[in-house]
């Protein structure tokens, strides 16, 4: 077996207004959960990792790739970070149908990148019948599944899941959760799973990082 690399090795500080986010953790689990109350900086952390926000200082390394290092002046541009970011609000492009939404990141992924088979993604997420639909006609659960498929098809090096069950009813949430477990078993992509519900992540992973009140990592002042 090859040397073990840390999936996520992240240490950063970022200040927005009065809120200071300070994070320092490393994890090698397939799924790493980030939990904490609303406003603890969970989404800010994901935005820093994806490159949408440049943290004030710190270092972000994922599977040996250094994405950000303030000391060395490294800041990989967003489009080269290859994050599979599933936003809480799905962000399906309203002017493209489902098939075109899915193809958006797929077309932009480097030809040599490790790709998960298209059919597998579509089957696991059960979205084959939705291909010709327009976003305005989709339910919340369908949007979420398409957002996950779109991220996976962009040949990401890691997945960022921001409250993937938020605003879904129990049955739908259960479905998505089962899919994420299935993806985790099928694919070798490290995932960061953000949630404000400790119970939700319990069944997914033992690697849980609490934002907001843990000594390992904290936001001060809590905001």
């Amino acid at each position: 077996m090859a040397a073990i690399h840390m999936a996520f090795k992240i240490s950063l500080r970022h200040q927005i207004g009065d809120c200071a986010l300070a994070v320092d953790f490393s994890s090698n689990a397939g799924i790493t959960a980030i939990i904490g109350p609303s406003g603890a900086g969970k989404s800010t952390l994901l935005n820093c990792i994806a490159g949408l926000i440049a943290p004030d200082q710190g270092r972000i390394a994922i599977a040996d790739d250094v994405l950000f290092d303030s000391a060395k002046g490294i800041c990989v541009p967003i489009q080269h970070r290859r994050a599979g970011y599933v936003f809480q609000d799905a962000r399906i492009f309203p002017h493209l149908n489902v098939a075109a939404n899915l193809a958006y990141g797929e077309k932009l992924s480097p030809p040599a990148a490790y790709k998960i088979e298209r059919k597998l993604i579509i089957d696991v997420l059960g979205i084959a019948p939705l291909m010709d639909r327009w976003p305005a006609t989709l339910s919340g659960g369908e949007m979420r599944r398409i957002a996950i498929a779109r991220a996976l098809l962009s040949a990401p090096k890691f997945l960022l899941l921001d409250e993937p069950l938020a605003s879904l009813d129990r049955a739908r949430g259960e479905e998505i959760l089962a899919m994420i477990e299935h993806l985790h078993r099928t694919l070798a992509i490290p995932m960061l799973y953000v949630s404000h519900q400790p119970l939700e992540v319990e069944r997914l992973t033992d690697s849980v990082i609490a934002l907001g009140n843990q000594p390992l990592m904290h936001a001060d002042p809590p905001c």
């Binding site: 994050a83 990141g105 991220a151």
Partner: protein, 230 residues
Amino acid sequence: MITAAEWSIITLSLRVSIAATLFTLPAAYALAWLLARRRFAGRALVDALVHLPLVVPPVVTGWLLLIMLGPAGPLGSMLDRWFGVTFMFHWTGAALAASVMALPLMVRAIRLSIDGVDRRLVAAARTLGASKWHAFRTITLPLTLPGILAAAMLGFARALGEFGATVTFVSNIPGQTRTLPLAIYTGLQMPGGEAAVTRLAIISILLSLGALLASEWLIRRANGGNSHGV
């Protein structure tokens, strides 16, 4: 039905208005984007300058164009000396006057539509591997298409109706700068010109209505093409 003289006025008006619209559209989009999406020093000044033709009397705008771009003006003499370009008494001068008058309306229409584009969609496109330019081309630009069409319609209508700035800047030259409004005004100055004026006025109304219907149809099609479904 339409006389040769009328026909030449119509084609000149269309040429001036279409040239003004097409020429202004990219500039208006760039200005609208800057004003909507960027915070920079002098932003308020740019905003004010863009809106100036909307608030000052058109005759004053025409006079400003004349002193800047006329043969004795700083820009005008430079263009003439270096490129042999002159706007004076030429249809391109009428198009330029119409273009300046149309600019604020076009910038406003496009800016509203850019403000309406959810920037979170652009962020999502970036995480999917799109460069800034690619995200602009594939997300922002298509989502602002209805605004672009609305701007083109407003600009075209404004250009078709332009009078004050045109007559001040490039005068009233048959075949070069005598567009529909100027021809109507000229007809009113001549004894017995009422019949000609009526005909030109009707043509003018029909042209504007036609442009309005065409743009409504285009906007409906643009919205239908990326159908928000239901």
